[in-house]
Amino acid sequence: MSQPALDVFQVIADPSRRQILQLLTKNSLTISSLAENFDMSRPAVSKHVKILNDGGFISIRNIGRERYCMLRQEGFNDLQQWIGYFDSFWASKLKKLEALLDSREPKK
């Protein structure tokens, strides 16, 4: 990897990259057909595609002579993990609260 790795948030912080993902939810697309949706140059689109690929949000597959971009689950899983983190955080804290209440106060 020539570039420093971006965290999952940085990867999808860019509106163009989010739009690429949005386009890919409908269909897998070649870089050229992706580029048709943007004002920027094809190399610029390629750069975004590379970042999304490195971040695990898309994969690139060669089909015939074309390179197709398609969504990949991995990057999205990292985002889900963040929510999952707080889910288990609260579950363990509430268990602690339960134990604490039960130990401190005689039941009525």
């Binding site: 999808i12 963040w82 339960e98």
Partner: protein
């Protein structure tokens, strides 16, 4: 449609008693975290937990009491980031207490997550993508034109 974390617990104790554990800093410290909490709408307080580098989170949680109804409801904001001004977490914690069967039903809703620099709402809105992507991949894999070793 919004994804939220929800936990409902029953405690065989009165709402008043449970409320104390939600609002007294010395009691909060025993099960949740050390904080400078005060049961006062508008009061800002902080929690500290372990940083998670991967998620750009420095472990500091910044909160503000938004709603307070003694023994019934407590709402505070729950924000965090990398400590350099970038907010990666902008959410809301809502506690609801209800007297039930001689005890208290406590409900926690941790919602919003719209922070995430707004990514989460994007992802949530597009949760259908996985199905679409899977269907597409399946079709693709079944297609005779796909070179397997490419």
């Amino acid at each position: 449609m919004e994804r939220a974390i929800r936990h409902t617990w029953f405690f065989p104790h009165s709402p008043e008693r449970v409320w104390e554990y939600l609002t007294k800093p010395e009691l909060l410290a025993q099960w949740l975290m050390e904080s400078n909490f005060r049961p006062e709408v508008g009061h800002r307080f902080q929690f500290h937990t372990k940083p998670i580098v991967k998620f750009n989170f420095d472990g500091n949680i910044y909160c503000q009491v938004l709603e307070l109804e003694p023994n019934k409801k407590l709402v505070y904001s729950w924000k965090g980031g990398n400590g350099k001004g970038e907010v990666s977490l902008d959410s809301l914690v809502t506690w609801t207490l209800a007297a039930k069967n001689g005890g208290t039903e406590l409900q926690l809703v941790h919602s919003g997550f719209k922070g995430f620099r707004n990514f989460m709402s994007y992802i949530i809105m597009n949760q259908g993508w996985l199905k679409i992507a899977k269907r597409f991949l399946k079709n693709l894999n079944q297609s005779a034109h796909v070179p397997t070793g490419a």
